[in-house]
Symmetry: C2
Subunit: 148 residues, 2 copies
């Protein structure tokens, strides 16, 4: 266990690297299940907030998902082209683009419940560890879920 002045730059001493790697591997693990729904991971979590809230503007979706309009604008257009959501300007304030879930989008929810079920099978953590990981990640993010 040498501790020279460069040890802080070794990959094995990084906390952020396994975070980065883990996130990527998880998205990869989701892929086969989400492909069956014709969704990417980012599209999936977008649908997730819309299944709950039914209608939101782009700003609100972005606050929930930590994404900006540069990412969401093309993604929402894609979800619209798939028929899962609709995009309309608010009458009250034309700046707001209201994103609403369609019937087709709501139908997808019944198929999607299989995804968390399948994913939970391939997580190597026991219940307490998963809970603690959840807590630590939100503490790292310095807040609770923005979408509560």
């Amino acid at each position: 266990m040498e501790d020279n002045k460069y040890s802080c730059l070794e990959l094995k001493n990084q906390l952020c690297f396994p975070l980065y790697a883990c996130a990527k591997e998880v998205v990869r693990a989701y892929k086969p299940y989400l492909s069956a729904l014709d969704l990417t991971y980012t599209q999936y979590i977008t649908m997730m907030v819309l299944w709950e809230k039914k209608q939101m503007n782009v700003k609100e979706i972005g606050r929930c998902l930590y994404l900006d309009s540069g990412t969401l604008t093309p993604l929402l257009k894609k979800l619209e082209s798939k028929g899962y959501i609709s995009r309309h300007r608010s009458k009250a304030d034309e700046r707001n683009l209201l994103i609403s879930i369609t019937d087709e989008g709501m139908k997808l929810r019944d198929k999607a419940v299989a995804v968390p079920r399948e994913m939970s099978k391939c997580v190597k953590l026991d219940k307490d560890e998963a809970k603690e990981l959840y807590r630590l990640l939100y503490k790292f993010l310095d807040n609770n879920c923005n979408c509560e």
Copy 2:
């Protein structure tokens, strides 16, 4: 705390979402410090393994970083154009592309030690929590650091 058949699809009940969000926010937090070195986060972790190993082929770098040639090929060309690494085919086996760190690349290491120092200041976790998060992430990845 309702628990209908769709609760498994609520964002706040996801373990993978804070992982995804956390990883993104961390990369964003690195940005100002890495810009000073003319590196992106992915370029930074690539330099990190090369500061340690001095010379590796693309496959070995990919195994350390969980990246494939589709990501690494253009990234390594960019690091070469910055003068931090050199790329040469192995004489012994022409299939292997040997990536070597340059003197310029090694010089960068002295500036880079400031990065973990600055980053550690903005982590909201205490030492034990950070250690536990580290452990849980590698358990989630189902291994120890590939680059040990």
